[in-house]
């Protein structure tokens, strides 16, 4: 499939586009906007709400022009009240609507945790299946620009812990569109976490509406020596590290989880069973993080490993604002390369 391939740069993508003129290329943010527009056209119960969605910037372009196209009743800003907006959306979803709620920052989801955790996630169960909450909450991980401790957080693990929620983290334009459409149709509350560094990433995206099924990982590169399982922006770091590793004779397999809840245990286990080595590269913190859950799945499958497991995460500290500290703080492809060499017995020991 052309859309499972990840291109290292826009130039590389544009080159590929020349070779396959039938395919269309758009950015991650355009893919989200397109999916939203198609959902609004296809289903009268869908509406978009959130701080800044009607701003001409349109939440980094992801909602740009939608209010002009669909009107103020379907695409709207609100008073500045994250918990309130979330509660309003939970109520509207219970009453038959399909809200897409946009929180500019993942950091502001904790303001709405009561509505998400105690209500949206629980009602279907608590009311004996009478109600369901088809609510999609989009939120964005910041990075750079002094985003710092309260404007940058990767809080996926918090939501992975809650029964009743789904968590998706698309890494490509194709998945951003397909997962958002699938999330709105899913019927359960879905937390979609985007990454600001992915917004200008380009890839193949079909024009028509399509769904990427929730709960299915994608194998971005096959390999036999080590499994690198990655999340969101770290998928791109993993793909680049795998290319570099190939040149050194290490054949890495790269898996993009795409959905964190439910996890695609089958794909994870199959890969690690084959390679016997695992590195998980996540955008968040280590303890009780997404990587810990991936490793638990591997342990539960009783796979005999050839080397200790490695997790690549943020340091045990809040995100700094200083560019100097940020540089030290964020892991990237070099950390993955080093880890892969170590687990496969290449390089320094």
């Amino acid at each position: 499939m052309p859309w499972t391939k990840i291109y290292a740069s826009r130039t590389e993508f544009e080159k590929a586009l020349k070779d396959s003129p039938g395919l269309r290329g758009i950015t991650y943010k355009e893919a989200i906007r397109e999916a939203t527009a198609q959902l609004l056209s296809a289903d009268k119960s869908v509406f978009v709400i959130g701080e800044g969605v009607d701003d001409s910037g349109g939440v980094f372009g992801t909602t740009k022009g939608l209010q002009e196209e669909f009107g103020k009743d379907r695409v709207m800003d609100s008073p500045l009240a994250e918990n309130g907006i979330t509660g309003v959306c939970v109520g509207a979803a219970a009453a038959g609507m399909k809200p897409i709620l946009v929180h500019m920052r993942t950091d502001f989801l904790p303001i709405s945790l009561d509505q998400i955790v105690n209500h949206a996630a629980k009602w279907h169960y608590m009311f004996g299946g009478l109600l369901n909450i088809p609510l999609v909450i989009r939120s964005i991980i910041g990075r750079g620009w002094g985003s710092a401790a309260q404007h940058s957080q990767s809080l996926q693990a918090m939501f992975m812990n809650i029964p009743g929620l789904r968590v998706i983290m698309p890494a490509t334009p194709y998945d951003a569109k397909g997962l958002l459409i699938a999330a709105v149709k899913d019927g359960n509350p879905v937390i979609m976490i985007e990454h600001r560094w992915l917004y200008d990433h380009m890839g193949h995206v079909p024009e028509e509406m399509y769904e990427v099924p929730l709960g299915k990982a994608a194998v971005r590169k096959t390999g036999k020596d080590v499994s690198i399982i990655a999340v969101s922006h770290m998928v791109h770091e993993a793909v680049q590290s795998a290319e570099a590793l190939q040149e050194e004779g290490i054949d890495a397999e790269v898996i993009d989880l795409r959905t964190l809840k439910p996890l695609d245990t089958g794909t994870i286990v199959e890969s690690v069973r084959k390679t016997g080595r695992l590195i998980v590269a996540d955008t968040g913190w280590k303890e009780c993080g997404a990587g810990a859950e991936v490793m638990a799945k591997v342990a539960e499958a009783g796979i005999t490993l050839k080397a200790p497991l490695v997790r690549i995460n943020l340091p045990e500290a809040p995100t700094p604002a200083s560019p100097v500290l940020e540089k030290a703080y964020y892991p990237g492809k070099d950390d993955i390369i080093e880890a892969a060499k170590k687990t496969t017995g290449h390089g320094k020991r």
Binding site: E51, G52, D54, D55, S56, G57, D77, P79, L80, A81, E82, N83, G84, D107, F108, I111, W145, G146, A148, Q150, H151, P315, E316, A317, P318, P320, A321, S322, P323, V324, L325, A328, Y329
Partner: protein, 351 residues
């Protein structure tokens, strides 16, 4: 049907846009007080202008300008006593400069150095709140704590018109009313919350009137009139200090600049609106008023302006010669003490 209670929302202006005073509300202030207002506004404005140019030159990060709001910020800060606690939002350079917060530290902070928010010992200033409105209940809690300890101090909290929509606003003010906490709630209604106009935040006519429902007084003041702000905050803080409970003060003002340096306000508001408010900015009327009294001359302003610029230049120099933060600090400052895991991590990372 009978009426249980009715509310009235008062508006205070002491000096109008033409620099004319209303003697019936003019507090007892002297030449030196007006000079202090004037000079603090000029200093705050100089700090702000330099911050904006440093941002353009890439020497600091995203910055939130206070242009147009200097009277609300300095008038309120000067009315509080040095022992009172201040809970600022991210748009409070004028408050901090008026309180004597080291400007070089503020420049460090805006350049992305958290050490700039570590207020010097004895300076009762909380770190600025970037999440909107979350500081409101903190101030209520601190005010309540001071009351329990028997301190005669006040907590003053700054937030915007957008912040008044938050649950934190309701909960913080309601608590303060019930506990009679010595709190001054300072809302700078600058008419915009990024691209959202004041009219889309609340269907109420004023933000001040919301205090009525919490059982205490709310007042709207001309936020571009430094004397009105000073008077209202002085009275509210004296009242709070003597056990009279909280007050909500809505400073009716205007954000003349973009929301932050990352914004472009011309996308959502008209140039005509901005021009109209420029004519009402705080320094014009203060200058006219002081001139009539014989307290202002061009030479006086020029001389002070030069002094302000030299001061700010020296502060920037100090900020930029300060050493870069150390990556190890990230781990060292996360907990009171380094955890065993962090100690291991520190070693592994070679920091």
């Amino acid at each position: 049907m009978t009426t249980i209670e009715t509310s009235e929302t008062r508006y205070l202006q002491v000096i109008n846009e033409k620099g004319e005073e209303d003697p019936s509300v003019m507090p007892a202030l002297f030449e030196a007080d007006f000079r202090r207002f004037f000079e603090t506004i000029v200093l705050a404005r100089t700090f702000n202008q330099r911050a904006l140019s440093l941002q353009r030159e890439g020497r600091i990060g995203t910055y939130a300008s206070i242009w147009g709001q200097e009277a609300s910020q300095t008038g309120s800060a000067l009315a509080l006593s040095a022992e009172d606690w201040i809970f600022p939002s991210f748009r409070e350079s004028g408050v901090l400069v008026a309180r004597g917060y080291p400007m070089w530290m503020l420049y460090r902070y805006w350049a992305g150095d958290e050490r700039g928010m570590s207020a010097p010992e004895g300076m009762n200033i909380f770190p600025m709140s970037v999440p909107v409105g979350t500081q409101i209940p903190h101030a209520t809690g601190a005010a309540w704590a001071m009351k329990l300890k028997g301190h005669k101090k006040v907590a003053a909290v700054y937030f915007g018109d957008g912040g008044s929509s938050k649950g934190d606003f309701h909960e913080g003010l309601n608590f303060a009313g019930v506990f009679k906490a010595p709190c001054v709630f300072l809302c700078q209604n600058n008419q915009w919350a990024i691209s959202v106009p004041r009219s889309s935040q609340t269907a109420a006519k004023t933000i001040a009137q919301k205090a009525f429902a919490y059982g205490f007084e709310g007042i709207q003041v001309d936020g571009n009139d430094v004397v009105a702000v000073y008077k209202a905050v002085k009275e509210a803080s004296d009242k709070a200090r003597s056990g009279g409970g909280p007050t909500l003060i809505e400073c009716f003002t205007y954000r003349l600049d973009d929301h932050t340096t990352a914004d472009d306000a011309s996308r959502y508001r008209s140039g005509a609106e901005v021009e109209e408010w420029k004519a009402k900015e705080p320094l014009i009327r203060l200058r006219l008023f002081m001139e009539k009294k014989g307290w202002w001359t061009k030479e006086y302003e020029d001389a002070f302006m030069k002094k302000a610029q030299d001061t700010v230049d020296a502060e920037i120099k100090k900020a930029e010669s300060y050493g870069a933060p150390d990556p190890a600090d990230m781990l060292k400052f996360t907990y009171k003490e380094l955890s065993a895991r962090q100690a291991k991590e520190l070693k592994e990372r070679g920091w």
